[in-house]
């Protein structure tokens, strides 16, 4: 009976085997053309990729696009992966640079920072999405927190794309400056100076909120 169940779901059994395979073996198999191996790699890193893209761009639609481009690039160029760094660093570098490109292309919407864009491209007014069902908690505080979050996003939006990216990678993703420099194809010193400029700008932007 167990054998029959296994035979009925051969893909599932293969998935389980792939999930246990060491990453290097998965990469080698993907380089050899195994789609199953590549899919396993995608599943291992898709959460991190989306988390970074979503927080950096603030848009589900943009995050989805970046996910697509990043993994397609990874699929296309996985043959060039030489195991000189971890696969995590490699894919993260691709995602970071795609996010940087996206930030450069996008027009900032300074006139209305209360609006974010969902996956279908429709705008959602954050303030109107505060649920009435939460009235049992402190609605004023909830609204304050949301407004503060919007102000933070607004201030982040005023950074240059590179400053925004460095700040994101350091402050929110916790990467070392040296790693950030490698990802952006620059030096640790440059990443440090960029972080310094970003924090200085953010502090002046948010000075009024600390009262």
């Amino acid at each position: 009976m167990a054998a029959t169940r296994a035979m009925e779901k051969p893909d599932r059994a293969q998935e389980l085997m792939q999930a246990r395979a060491p990453e290097m073996e998965l990469i080698r198999q993907a380089q050899a053309g195994s789609r199953v191996a590549f899919d396993s790699l995608v599943r291992q890193y898709e959460q991190q990729v989306l988390r970074l893209a979503l927080h950096l761009t603030g848009s589900e639609s943009d995050a989805e696009d970046i996910y697509q481009e990043a993994f397609l690039k990874a699929y296309r160029y996985i043959g060039n992966f030489r195991f000189e760094c971890s696969f995590y660093t490699w894919i993260y570098r691709i995602v970071t640079n795609l996010c940087l490109d996206q930030l450069r292309r996008r027009k900032t919407r300074r006139e209305d920072q209360a609006v974010v864009v969902d996956h279908s491209g429709d705008e959602i007014d954050i303030l109107s999405s505060v649920s009435d069902e939460r009235s049992f908690s402190n609605p004023a505080r909830e609204l304050d927190r949301k407004v503060l979050g919007i102000r933070i996003q607004e201030a982040l939006g005023k950074l240059t794309p590179r400053e925004r990216t460095v700040f994101e990678l350091k402050h929110y993703q916790g990467l070392r400056l040296r790693t950030i420099g490698e990802m952006l194809n620059t030096t640790e010193e440059t990443a440090k100076n960029t972080l310094f400029r970003a924090t200085k700008k953010l502090r002046s932007q948010l000075a009024g909120l600390r009262k």
Partner: protein, 324 residues
């Protein structure tokens, strides 16, 4: 330790990037400097405030949607041909053998690869003699009116059920010419596209040069239009001549536009061409009062590998008044 250095180290310490001996030095300075103490509080406040925009896990719908879309795109890719996989494998093997002085293994891999390729070409020639080949170009020449333009790509192929009929959707390239003034918005849009997308360095150079001349002349060089394009060229173009033109076009805006200033600072820190770095120093000199500019100049003065650039940075810094 002076306060400017302390401010920088406060940021590094806040993110755990400061070595222990420098942390100790910073703590000694903070014990006596009220202003820097406040600076540290502000940095801590920034970290606290930033938590109001937390990193959230993507919801399951987003993950599922993204995965499905990726799978569809991967399914639509043409399968890798056997000789492409073999060539890639040979490249991977060659790379892993690079540090191993096993000439025999390398020769074996290369010999195997050459032999396989030779076999492939023989097979191709045999097939060509026995089967009439139909190239895509032939089919497209027969099926497409030449006046429609060259086929750029195929966007979809659909076969009607139980039928020999197929529907093929494709896009064509149609060459066009337009004449107009540099003030014309359409001409500008084309020039901006050329600066980013042209494969020829000559075309990129011409477009960036024209856009830069408009900016130097003050002809509607908007921050989110031409100025943005010049900054992208300065940061990312592969050709130093193109980057130089972009740099010159941005010069009039370095005082009023902090984004332009940042782009100049990045060029000074990381452009591989020493002429561009030198010119960035002279362009930034009028705004040397900016703390960021002074910091970068200080860094370049000590760490640039070109001695002339180090000297130029020191000279600019020496002209900065002691107190601002």
């Amino acid at each position: 330790m002076n306060c400017e250095l302390a401010h920088e180290r406060i940021v590094m310490a806040a993110y755990g990037e400061l070595p222990d001996d420098e942390t100790h030095e910073l703590d000694r300075h903070l014990a006596t400097c009220t202003e820097c103490g406040q600076e540290r509080e502000q940095m801590q406040a920034l970290k606290l405030l930033s938590s109001a925009y937390p990193v959230e896990e993507p919801n399951a719908n987003l993950v599922a949607r993204s995965r499905i879309r990726l799978e569809e795109a991967l399914d639509a890719l043409p399968p890798t041909r056997w000789f492409e996989r073999l060539l890639q494998k040979l490249r991977n093997n060659a790379a892993s053998l690079q540090s191993a002085p096993i000439a025999a293994s390398l020769l074996l891999v290369i010999g195997g690869g050459v032999g396989s390729l030779g076999g492939y070409f023989v097979a191709q020639n045999h097939t060509a003699r026995t089967t009439p080949t139909t190239s895509i170009a032939d089919v497209s020449n027969k099926a497409v009116d030449p006046s429609e333009g060259e086929v750029a790509n195929i966007s979809s192929i659909e076969r009607q059920p139980n039928s020999e009929f197929v529907e093929v959707r494709y896009n064509t390239l149609v060459p066009r010419v337009v004449h107009g003034s540099l003030d014309d918005q359409y001409i500008r849009r084309l020039l901006m596209l050329a600066s980013e997308n042209a494969s020829s360095v000559g075309i990129r150079g011409s477009s960036v040069g024209l856009l830069a001349s408009e900016c130097r002349a003050g002809h509607e060089c908007q921050p989110e239009g031409i100025r943005d394009v010049l900054m992208v060229s300065l940061r990312y173009d592969r050709n130093a001549g193109v980057r130089q033109k972009a740099l010159e076009g941005l010069q009039p805006y370095v005082a009023e536009d902090v984004h332009v200033r940042d782009a100049m600072l990045e060029a000074l820190l990381s452009d591989p061409d020493p002429h561009i770095r030198t010119e960035a120093i002279s362009i930034l000199e009028p705004v040397e009062a900016d703390t960021s500019v002074r910091q970068v100049l200080r860094s370049v003065a000590s760490s640039d590998h070109n001695p002339r650039i180090r000297l130029a940075s020191r000279e600019v810094l020496s002209r900065v008044p002691a107190f601002q």
